[in-house]
């Protein structure tokens, strides 16, 4: 009997198996050249020619493409090989008997890391079980999405109740008596929240170009968040910084250069976002693997080439009151109380408590509450966090809105919801439903990567952003790989997607007869799921 070492990693342990058809292969080498993971290689195999027994058996060598069986160079199923193969001779096929995660932990004694997204079963999405069911037909007319004027703007910044506006009368007209918190009217969809480092500078630049174009040419006041990785100084000192929301997280990456550049800034940024948590890996800090810390990333962030870990918490902040006093106050003061300062937290059972505390803060300086659901993306995370921690966005957004309604303070701190929106194809529908449930707006990051060409999906395809070997040139700093991403095309695709989404939002506003955003208009929604109906307080339909 043949001996076999069963503890070694074996081909059928891997999550993806390469199917290769030798008869179609012309040995052009494109597949091996394109594979950023080095998961396939040219190899030589010996073939035995069958004989009738009269002749001695003969052997000959053939050139084949072979899959590597390796913890670092295994196939991630990105499909680049089949994209470049002129004859369709090669493809990656999902292995139903995959045991890779067991093997990896047993062999390496370390936690498995991943990028992109968790392995989610998207068939059960709450948002997909909600429909816009209250249609204007007779007593109130529906609006023509193509002809009527619609206003898709939402406030960003702390809003005071009418009593607290402290207005006074002058010649029967009202005048402002005191300085009020900064407030901006922006497009209800924000983009970004991904750092230079987590994504390639080309991807980041494509988003920044798209943002500027949407504002300057299309007239859509879309705002982009920088993510925690700084911002190029040239952009910081340009007029376009007014479209950017600067993020500060526990690592404070990039803020040295931002602060030093402040005297030279000609415009205020659109806002400041203090990131406390992230939906994909709540309770865990940022993680940028050393392989992605390129020279320019080091420069922007002011760090050496090493794994960059943002702590799970902001050091020195041990209560919500403290965070309000220290962080919000100092960020407000830094920009002379002219820039909205918002907070981003991971959706959690405790989100409402945090929101209530901020609503009741006497300084009125928290200008937005961003809640990130568990289906959100990430550049890198431990698989255990990604797959097993987090809270869905929909019910938590609803909880926060209803908590504000309960106190008569809805809208005072605008709510923004994100995390896996557009997962099943219709981003506008997801955005619209969340707005009806109480969101002032929504934010998206990963969808922008998919628009630019990311090949990953929610069922385990690729999701290797953590490796720095992104085959689409998006989540990598490798100069050769980043070249795969055409900045202008990516920017154009993002712009196009926003234009289409804008049109689709109007196609949803028209039938319910609303020309302005139906924030909190849950009576427009129905659900075919009794539990969702009860939990979200929307009408059950069957």
């Amino acid at each position: 009997m043949e001996a076999v070492n069963i503890t070694n990693l074996n081909l059928d342990d891997l999550p993806w198996i390469i199917e290769y058809d030798e008869s179609k292969c012309i040995q052009c080498g494109k597949c091996t050249a394109v594979c950023s993971f080095g998961a396939i290689k040219p190899d030589v195999e010996t073939r035995r020619e069958l004989s009738n027994g009269l002749k001695k058996p003969s052997f000959h060598k053939v050139l084949v493409i072979k899959q590597k069986v390796s913890y670092t160079h295994h196939c991630r199923g990105c499909g680049m090989c089949s994209r470049v193969c002129p004859n369709g001779a090669i493809k990656a096929v999902r292995n139903p008997n995959d045991r890779y995660s067991v093997r990896y932990r047993a062999a390496k004694a370390e936690s498995l890391k991943k990028g992109g997204r968790s392995n989610l079963n998207t068939e059960g999405r709450t948002l997909d079980k909600i429909k816009i069911g209250r249609i204007s037909q007779m007593t109130d007319p529906s609006l023509d999405a193509a002809r009527h004027k619609f206003e898709l703007r939402t406030p960003f910044g702390r809003i005071l109740s009418a009593e607290k506006l402290n207005l006074h009368l002058e010649n029967n007209n009202m005048e402002l008596s005191t300085k009020l918190p900064p407030n901006r009217w922006i497009y209800p969809i924000l983009m970004g929240d991904m750092s230079i480092g987590a994504v390639s500078w080309r991807m980041w630049e494509a988003m920044a170009i798209a943002t500027a174009y949407l504002n300057e040419v299309m007239g859509l006041p879309v705002r982009m968040c920088t993510g925690e990785g700084g911002i190029p100084i040239r952009l910081l000192k340009s007029k376009y910084v007014k479209y950017m929301i600067l993020q500060i997280a526990s690592g404070h990456f990039g803020w040295n250069r931002i602060i030093q550049s402040m005297p030279d800034m000609i415009e205020d940024p659109a806002g400041i976002l203090i990131k406390i948590g992230q939906g994909a890996k709540p309770g865990d800090g940022g993680l940028l693997m050393a392989s992605k810390v390129a020279k320019y990333v080091q420069e922007i962030r002011g760090v050496p080439k090493a794994d960059l870990l943002s702590p799970p918490t902001h050091q020195g902040l041990y209560s919500i009151e403290e965070s309000v006093q220290k962080m919000f106050l100092s960020m407000n003061a830094a920009f002379n109380f002219k820039v909205p300062v918002a907070i981003k937290v991971a959706a959690s059972v405790t989100s409402v408590s945090v929101y209530n505390n901020l609503l009741r803060d006497p300084y009125n300086i928290v200008g937005g509450f961003f809640i990130d659901g568990l289906a959100g993306g990430t550049g890198a995370a431990h698989e255990i966090s990604l797959d097993h921690t987090g809270h869905p966005i929909t019910s938590k957004l609803r909880d926060c809105y209803l908590a504000a309604v309960h106190q008569g303070r809805q809208g005072e701190i605008p709510l923004f919801a994100g995390g896996g929106l557009g997962q099943t194809g219709s981003f506008a529908a997801d955005a619209f439903k969340l707005i009806c449930l109480g969101a002032n707006g929504v934010f998206t990051g990963r969808l922008l990567l998919e628009i630019a060409g990311c090949v990953g999906n929610d069922t385990g395809k690729c999701n290797s952003c953590n490796t720095g070997l992104c085959p689409a040139g998006i989540a990598t700093q490798d100069l050769c790989l980043t070249k795969r991403l055409d900045i202008d095309s990516a920017a154009q695709n993002i712009v196009n997607y926003f234009i289409a989404t804008d049109m689709e939002l109007k196609k949803l506003m028209g039938p319910i007869g609303n020309s302005t955003l139906p924030i909190g208009r849950s009576d427009a929604l129905i659900t075919v799921d009794k539990h969702i109906s009860n939990r979200l307080d929307i009408q059950y339909a069957c």
Partner: protein, 368 residues
């Protein structure tokens, strides 16, 4: 689609004029009810214009309880009037057993009370009466306010008129301001409280249309003031916002329009008062309305008001002669009761206008 009417005159008018105003507009409503509010009362109520009049439809038990409550609070009755009822089996009407219109003297404790304190007492009392009678559906408190009389009933407007003898003009029952609607709310349950016009704290509102931001308005208004209750009709939100803007916040009346139908951003940006308008838009976004609407209102000082939705999706016309100004949904109604007027003076307000009818009957048109 319902039709509404509002009449303001230098002379005292009998409510039959409201029935006649609405008669030719009947195709637009379903004859499910008739309701009116009379203000600046003449006739038998003229002698007690400063004292509150209770407008109540109730059972015998409900009437007794309401009177007991008022008695316990120290109110003493100075005048009682009830319409003469014409019982006919053929009439399509679902009447309550008693219709009570009683004027009361304030409690002694309020002899030297300020106007504000008296108003507060009346609002609290009306809310208490409503709450008590609601427990067993024994009565409906429509208004409890000086110089105001309200009647609401379910049934055919013509038959309701016959039942209460409203077709016959007399000098007992008349007023200088009458607002009326010939339809019950049909979007939700047909209940008496859902019928326009709505009255609160000196403000009256009636509307033709649909408020598609009803849920947003309602959820916000519930926390703003104790009197914002009921919500049997989405149009009550128009009343509560008017009251909130003008009475609670003490903002001039032009900001009502800026609150319920804010200007588009590009227009706000071009205005000198853009800072104020943007703040109002943000702070009171939950009071914004959407959907088609024409809204008529009467302010505590007796002036009448008309505004429309931002797309002008519902009809309205204003006709006038030397003695009277009439706002209504369709011109046929005005033609019936004011045939000799100068039709060149008719006003068809647009989506940006706030129309104010002053007490001397001058009609002001404010552009938003």
């Amino acid at each position: 689609m319902c039709r509404i009417g509002a009449i303001k005159s230098k002379k005292y008018l009998h409510p039959s004029i409201a029935l006649k105003l609405m008669r030719s507009q009947q195709k637009g409503h379903d004859n499910s009810g008739f309701a009116f509010v009379m203000q600046d009362l003449g006739g038998i109520f003229n002698a007690h214009k400063d004292l509150p009049t209770l407008s109540l439809a109730a059972t015998v038990e409900g009437t007794r309880r309401a009177e007991d409550i008022l008695h316990d609070l120290g109110f003493t009755r100075v005048l009682q009037w009830a319409p003469e009822i014409n019982h006919q089996k053929s009439l399509k009407i679902e009447p309550m057993p008693n219709y009570v219109f009683e004027t009361f003297q304030y409690p002694k404790s309020h002899k030297y009370a300020t106007q504000e304190e008296k108003e507060e007492l009346l609002i609290d009392t009306a809310l208490l009466l409503r709450k008590e009678l609601e427990k067993d559906n024994s009565g409906y408190v429509y208004s409890f306010w000086p110089d105001v009389l309200t009647l609401k009933e379910i049934g055919s407007p013509k038959d309701i008129g016959t039942y209460f003898g409203l077709w016959e003009e007399n000098e007992e029952l008349c007023a200088k301001v009458i607002t009326a609607q010939c339809r019950q709310n049909t979007n939700y349950d047909i209940v008496r409280y859902a019928a326009h016009p709505f009255f609160l704290d000196g403000y009256t509102i009636l509307a033709n249309g649909e408020n598609t931001f009803f849920e947003k308005n309602r959820d916000y208004q519930r926390s703003l003031y104790k009197g914002y209750i009921g919500f049997e009709s989405d149009s009550q939100c128009f009343l509560y916002t008017l009251h909130y803007i003008n009475k609670i916040l003490k903002w001039p009346i032009q900001y009502y329009k800026h609150t319920i139908t804010p200007l588009p951003f590009e227009e706000i940006e071009a205005r000198q008062d853009k800072d104020i308008l943007l703040r109002i838009k943000a702070s009171l976004s939950h009071l914004e309305i959407n959907g088609p609407n024409t809204i008529f209102g009467v302010l505590p000082n007796g002036e009448m008001l008309c505004v429309c939705d931002s797309k002008k999706l519902r009809p309205v016309v204003i006709g006038q002669d030397d003695d009277t100004v009439i706002m209504t949904s369709e011109v046929t109604g005005i033609n019936d009761i004011m045939p000799g007027r100068d039709i060149a003076k008719d006003i068809y307000p647009n989506e940006k206008e706030t129309i104010i009818v002053k007490n001397d009957l001058t009609v002001e048109r404010w552009k938003q």
